[in-house]
Amino acid sequence: MWRDLGLLRSELGLMLSRWRNRLGLGVLALVPLMVTIGMYQSSRAGGGPDIVGGLTNGLVVPLTALFAEAVLFLPLAVAMLSGDAIAGEANQGTLRYLLTVPVARTRLLVVKYLSLMIGAVMGVGIVLLVGGILGVAVFGAGETATLSGSRIGFWDSLGRLLLAGAYVSVILWAIAAIGLFFSTLVDQPVAVSIGVMVVVALMGIAQAVPELEWLRPWLLTTRVQSFVDLMRDPIYWTQMRNGVLVALGWMAVFLAAAWARFTSRDITS
């Protein structure tokens, strides 16, 4: 058990040792900075951001940044990581060495998925962390208005922010499951990343086509933004609960597919 943690730690170390992943984290951190600058300038111009009306709680910054990144940047980050997961190892030839160490295929798949899950949380975490620090530094840690018009204190809003991060992470885990499956199909990490982004883009398009409205509840891109319900008073849970269930459904299907594929395939790379 402890030695399995060793492999997971090695996996995370490998993930963070790549320059492009570090750069990716930097890009994710750039958005809350841009949001801060934008909000600062509009608050100086008077009026302030619409939903807040006199900004005294900086946590609006990470929340806005999360909203902006949840549809494109965060899925893109997950897409990149899932390309490396299996296809990247196959492409470099390191997969055959891992498997003959030996690492049982199911065990490797579990560790790879866990590291993707952690990677997704890191991505969300950096947005919240950078946004939170910048926001509080610039706008303070006072009360904030909910979408329902009532006001909540700083600690309450911090709790809601963390819940929002957790919700987005769960949706990203579903995207990671799709990515992991794609990663077991081919030996080209870039193909995996593109494939995942194609799926995400298709979901975005399907969301916009009126005739496909029946599909909408199943789309992760629709679901991911439900976390704004956390800013209602009282919190409106229904959409988020359904979102989590839909995400679990995607996970179940694609993890099963990834497992079936990876445990039966010939490793010729």
Binding site: S10, S17, Q92, G93, R96, L99, P102
Partner: protein, 311 residues
Amino acid sequence: MTDPLAVRSTGLTKRFGSRTAVDGIDLVVPAGAVYGFLGPNGSGKTTTIRMLLGLVKPTAGAAQVLGHEVPGELQLALPRVGALIEGPAMHGHLSGRANLARLDAADRTADPRTRGRRMGEALERVGLTAAASKKFKNYSLGMKQRLGIAAALMQPHDLLVLDEPTNGLDPQGTREVRHLVSSLAQDGTTVLVSSHLLSEVEQMCSHVGVMSRGRLIAQDTLSGLKQQATARLRVETPDPELALGVLTSLGLGDATSEGPIVTGPMPADPAPERLVAALVEAGVRVRGFAVEGQGLEDLFVQLTGEGFDVA
């Protein structure tokens, strides 16, 4: 070690679509042997090795590695096997040492507390201590090859599978690998080493299996094969039929004639001079008699119908 055979396969077959890469081979690798798996590129050696290591699923047949069925009991067999498969492959942006640490972290049977020491010893053994913190992508091909071998040496193994271990090495490196293999064999490790180089196998191995177009066309001890290879009888006579009769009566039934030339494999017994005496006595007009030395290379060309690179 309980099983006297390190590797055994029966009818091991792999088809990729309609192409048969490995065609019903029966490998026998005795424990303690240095087994040279010889064959031209593309003859099915690597696919066979991948099947033994559970990377590729056999289409038919069965294989046992160190007494365990593969792929069924792979997780029991593989911890006792070190492998270098089709060239080294590691993460280019990590140092040699970091790459070893990653493989060791993946190994459930490896104790992380002794990792540093074991890495140091393995690196020392392949002469990479000085380059341990250099990035893998900056290694020369020979260094990469040696790091791959170091990875296989981090844990004690009963069987080492080395697929073309001297590929890309300079003569000095090749010699080092040869020494390494023989010192490992002396420690009791069974080594299965594949190569397309006859000279290499001849220098390192105690047993040889020859692959050609997916089939195992010869398998014996090196000395057994050499015997088969060195002794060929050649008789020149206007009485080939008579000569064949005499040779057959002396136990050389495999001899054949072509015009005035009779040839056949030459056994150790009876001695050549006795054959000549017997032939002359029977009235065969012997105009020429020779026992021709045939190199292993000639034998393999004869067996495979294709040449080997001889370096």
